[in-house]
């Protein structure tokens, strides 16, 4: 139902649509993503005024590599929608939606921090969970989970003990 209404309204902008497990998902391109998301927020019948979540998935060996995923929710009509935008690994950016939902401020900072995707138009895109001098983007699949980046040199008490007692 919702997908038909979306296809009627946005036509060719919808690159893919899926309905599974009681949820609807559409895939759009990034060129007009800002306008489409604004229309989804404002137009009657959609009214997605609540941005539940903004995150990304790294499909390492797929082209496009990343999926930026928006979970939209409507407090007035009580329906949900997932919107996905495929983003290339080498040219990773989408337009920021801070103008639509204030929640995007911190959520986009987190996606930038964890995946390295740039959000054009974000007022203050900097790391949020990792410390400032951290290098790399930890949730990417090619970042090893056990890689250590200590700010202060780690002291191994067996190899290099501080005190020479016992």
């Amino acid at each position: 139902m919702l997908i038909e209404k979306l296809k009627q309204r946005f036509g060719g902008e919808i690159l893919g649509a899926e309905s599974a497990h009681g949820e609807e998902t559409i895939t759009i391109g990034r060129e007009h993503a800002y306008d489409i998301l604004r229309a989804l927020r404002d137009e009657p019948g959609f009214e997605f005024n609540f941005l539940s979540d903004l995150t990304a998935v790294d499909w390492l060996d797929r082209k496009p590599r990343f999926d930026v995923v928006y979970h939209l929710n409507s407090l007035t009509l009580s329906h949900r929608l997932r919107v996905k935008i495929g983003v290339d690994g080498t040219d990773a950016w989408v337009d920021s939606v801070v103008g639509n939902w204030g929640a995007a401020d911190w959520l986009e900072r987190e996606v930038f921090d964890m995946f390295g995707i740039d959000f054009k138009g974000h007022p203050d895109l900097r790391r949020i969970l990792m410390y400032d001098s951290f290098e790399g983007h930890p949730l990417r699949k090619d970042y090893r989970y056990d890689k250590r980046q200590p700010i202060v040199d780690e002291i191994d008490p067996i190899v290099n003990p501080r005190h020479s007692s016992r």
Binding site: E23, S52, D53, G102, A103, W106, R127, L139
Partner: protein
């Protein structure tokens, strides 16, 4: 050239990650004009432990201990949320009894979380007695949680397809006697605080977040309901058996700290109503499904038959084979909409587990709530936001 007057300068002060009055490691980079806050940059991430990355390294069942440590004041709700997400992706239906039991324990966890939040927040404004009373009430609930799951905090009690074990015998009686004492505690705290001049002066009119800003910032839970919008995931997108229960969703009016206090206080009474109704209509039956591809076989089968042994081995070593796909399951956490976005590539290990943390969005709105107020108001507002470090930073 006249020298600049120091009283005109903006002072930058860092209310650092370890502060005795802040509950959790959070840093406020304040810009102050005297004692009035001109700007407040909230810095989170001091408790970031890589939850989402570590979930990808193990099997589906190995994610449950990680979920305990998200909102560690109400761990049952996190377990339930993740289990529901994976069960949705597997398209399996859990038993009726499991739904009721998960709902009862979620509400117990919610009451425990609210007691922690309100008790700690009252302590910060000087009401030490209320803090002690509420923590005493929480002890009764922790005794209950320990009787059911074996642990007070890190419960790891849900599994995909059911739970580790059923409610113990005598649970309903223990619940009844606990509630008799909790009711007494809550009525005492109500008498001490709700019409207390000092408390109202500290809380009322402080930290106001207007409705439109709350919706725009993705704020949910008691913070949103204090502004007057009655959005509760249990009513809007019912899960488990909440649609069969009779309960109200308390709301406030102005969105200030006093309203948030009130909303949380009244939510505890509503949770108690849900628990009593659920215990009265609790169905009999098994608490886990018997699908050998999802749930571990009984130990007698594992030790006495080769099929049971093989079944157990495959499920432990390879994990549950969840078909490829993605799902977003939202539950009503103590702080708001707790969402689990789970992506599977068909193997026994999760491909991506994303937690939508309600207090992360609440903290992003904290700047708006604090600008224009004074330093002591940071304590009360931050206390009422109830940021749990484990959930905000993961």
């Amino acid at each position: 050239m006249t020298p600049s007057d120091p009283s005109d300068e903006i002072m930058e002060l860092q209310m650092g990650p370890s502060h005795p009055a802040s509950h959790g490691t959070i840093k406020f980079n304040l810009k102050l004009d005297g004692e009035r806050i001109v700007d407040c940059d909230v810095e989170v991430g001091y408790l970031h432990r890589g939850f989402e990355k570590m979930c990808e390294q193990g099997t589906w069942t190995q994610c449950f201990p990680y979920t305990d440590r998200l909102n560690y004041a109400s761990p049952c709700i996190n377990n339930v949320g993740f289990a529901l997400a994976v069960e949705k992706l597997l398209d399996i239906e859990i038993t009726e009894r499991c739904k009721y039991v998960r709902m009862i324990m979620s509400e117990v966890a919610r009451i425990a979380d609210h007691l922690t939040c309100l008790g700690a927040a009252s302590n910060e404004v000087g009401a030490g007695t209320v803090f002690m009373y509420m923590l005493e009430a929480r002890e009764f609930l922790y005794d209950l949680i320990e009787a059911v799951t074996g642990a007070r905090l890190t419960v790891t009690w849900c599994r995909v397809g059911g739970m580790t074990h059923d409610l113990p015998a005598g649970f309903a009686d223990q619940m009844k006697s606990s509630f008799a004492r909790i009711d007494q505690v809550l009525s005492d705290c109500d008498k001490l605080l709700s019409r207390n001049r000092v408390f109202i002066d500290r809380m009322s009119g402080i930290g106001i977040l207007p409705k439109e800003d709350a919706i725009s910032y993705g704020v949910s839970g008691p913070l949103l309901r204090a502004t007057g919008i009655s959005y509760d995931v249990r009513k809007a997108h019912p899960y488990l058996v909440y649609d069969r229960m009779n309960f109200e969703v308390p709301t406030g009016e102005r969105g200030d700290n006093y309203d948030r206090f009130n909303v949380r206080f009244r939510e505890m009474e509503q949770s108690k109503r849900i628990i009593e109704q659920a215990l009265a209509t609790l169905p009999e039956g098994p608490v886990s499904i018997t699908d050998p591809k999802v749930v571990l076989p009984a130990k007698e089968k594992v030790y006495n038959s080769i099929e049971g042994l093989m079944n157990h081995f495959k499920l432990i070593m390879e994990g549950i084979h969840v078909p490829a796909g993605e799902v977003y399951q939202a539950v009503e956490g103590a702080n708001g909409e707790l969402g689990f976005y789970v992506v599977s590539d068909g193997s026994g290990r999760p491909y991506r587990v994303r937690v939508r943390p309600p207090c992360f969005l609440g903290m992003s709105a904290l700047n708006k709530m604090l600008v224009g107020h004074m330093i002591p108001d940071i304590i009360t507002t931050f206390g009422m936001v109830n940021m749990i470090g484990g959930e905000c930073d993961r």
